[in-house]
């Protein structure tokens, strides 16, 4: 947060660099079941983010000592492709991706009926093919769809969005420049019906009032995003072409 920059992120009328209003989302598109092998899968485009999620399971947890006798263990693995970011990233997990994998696993566990599958594990592989700010929330939002598409029982869908502070103003769904040069980043994910919060992180500088404003913006936005999730799960026809990106 807060690297300095000469870029002007908001114009006089409060419009953003990419032409959005403060409360406007970037375009979002979700498709399901593009992958053949996985038990369920989802593909999301959210702004410039391109993320594929595959789900395997429930299957017996391995190694055995990781089994929980009361419920399934959800193991999300958030991974960035080497070419997904501006400078080539060495393959394999880094500290950031380990942390993100942890909070996503916990968030999904809130929504999946894990108690129905003792000793099992549910693997959720989140592959960021192109990163453009907000990948953890986009990945988690797609992961929820992928889990549903695998037929795994859930008490609710998980849906999220970020808000942040840019030049002193609270805005929704940070772009890459806003993420790099803004003053705060607040990703929140909720259960879509109950609005219970299953993921929240923040870094930057927010007053209480700013937090209230930002969190309300996110809550409103999740309704729209949940609608996109539902559509993706009900209409699966033109998947191939869209998913392949033209």
């Amino acid at each position: 947060m807060g690297s300095e920059s000469n870029i002007k992120l908001l114009d006089e009328s409060g419009m953003r660099l990419d032409g959005r209003t403060p409360e406007q989302l970037r375009p979002i598109k979700i498709e399901t079941n593009l992958l053949e092998r996985a038990d369920g899968s989802a593909y999301i485009e959210w702004g410039g983010n391109k993320i594929m999620v595959a789900v395997y399971g429930p299957r017996e947890a391995y190694p055995k000592h990781t089994q929980d006798i009361e419920k399934a263990v959800v193991k999300a693995r958030y991974n960035m492709a080497a070419f997904s970011v501006d400078e080539r990233k060495r393959p394999g997990p880094d500290r950031r991706s380990v942390e993100i994998s942890k909070v996503i696993s916990e968030a999904l566990s809130s929504a999946i009926m894990v108690e129905q599958f003792p000793r099992a594990q549910i693997d959720v592989f989140i592959e960021v093919m192109q990163a453009d700010a907000g990948t953890r929330i986009a990945g988690l939002t797609a992961a929820s769809v992928a889990v549903a598409s695998a037929g795994i029982p859930m008490r609710d869908m998980v849906v999220g969005c970020t808000a942040g502070k840019v030049e002193g103003k609270v805005v929704l769904d940070l772009s890459k420049e806003e993420d790099n040069f803004g003053q705060a980043d607040l990703p929140i994910a909720v259960l879509s019906k109950s609005k219970k919060i299953v993921l929240i992180q923040m870094d930057g500088d927010l007053s209480l009032e700013e937090f209230d404003q930002a969190s309300e913006m996110i809550m409103k936005a999740t309704d729209n995003i949940a609608e996109i999730q539902r559509n993706a799960l009900t209409s699966r026809y033109s998947v191939e072409n869209i998913g392949d990106g033209e």
Partner: protein
């Protein structure tokens, strides 16, 4: 946090603690929002640039700061470097194992780091020796030595205390040794939700009982600098707002008590 570390709490104990909490009572007599007493010994390791041994109840962590000259990151040529590492020493708990950082120690380190970084506690622009070429690198290493819950707050306390006591060895680069310039004091406050109650500074049993955890780090102005939700439970937005308020109030108390 190693929820299963101690095995499952007995059902009897679990319902007893929960019942007590509903009445506002905790096992050690604290109120729901009370922190355990902290003992902070700065300069515990005189050979380090700064250090602090912190006991928070029966949790014990040792933070040491080393400050060395080195190259800046290419994308921030005019800025020193701050790096935070947490080691869950196997001495701290029966099931902790030696090895590289795992998801638990990485999460703690990153939450502590964000609190310090985003509060602008250290002005990294003052850590430049030669612009673009040589800067001070501040290593904060935190060793968990004894574990009874709430590592994030214990580690933040230790890291902040160690940094406040730290000297830059500028004489090695032809200057004069000087205290590390620190500004804002971030304080993190971690709560767990047990039943419908928010409980501050949980010990290990309370962590095991909690359905969800949230950490809020604030500065003196009451602003939020870092937040982190953990565990598989959830919070309502109202609960989060309440947690922010608690953190801001408790943070002020702790700041006064330990950092004034």
């Amino acid at each position: 946090m190693p929820r299963d570390a101690l095995g499952v709490l007995s059902e009897i104990k679990r319902s007893f603690i929960t019942k007590q909490l509903k009445e506002g009572k905790r096992g050690d007599g604290r109120g729901l929002l009370d922190f355990r007493e902290a003992t902070i010994t700065t300069n515990y390791v005189p050979r380090a640039a700064g250090s602090a041994m912190v006991k928070l109840g029966r949790t014990r962590v040792l933070a040491g700061v080393k400050i060395e000259s080195g190259e800046p990151f290419p994308d921030t040529p005019n800025s020193g470097v701050l790096t935070t590492n947490v080691e869950l020493l196997p001495m701290a708990f029966p099931t902790f194992e030696a090895g590289p950082p795992n998801e638990t120690s990485i999460e703690i380190a990153r939450v502590v780091d964000r609190g310090i970084r985003e509060s602008k506690m250290i002005d990294t622009q003052k850590l430049v020796i030669e612009p673009g070429k040589k800067v001070w690198i501040v290593f904060v290493d935190i060793n968990i030595m004894d574990f009874d819950g709430n590592l994030i707050d214990a580690c933040t306390l230790a890291a902040v205390s160690a940094l406040r006591s730290a000297f830059i060895p500028a004489s090695k680069e032809g200057g004069k040794d000087m205290p590390l310039p620190v500004d804002q004091i971030p304080v993190s406050v971690t709560m767990v939700k047990i039943g419908d109650e928010l409980v501050c500074d949980p010990d290990l049993e309370e962590e095991q009982l909690g359905s969800a955890r949230v950490t809020v780090t604030t500065t003196e102005d009451g602003h939020i600098r870092a937040m982190q939700k953990g565990d598989t439970g959830n919070f309502t937005l109202e609960e989060i707002k309440k947690a922010i308020k608690i953190s801001s109030d408790t943070g002020a108390t702790l700041r006064k008590k330990y950092f004034s």
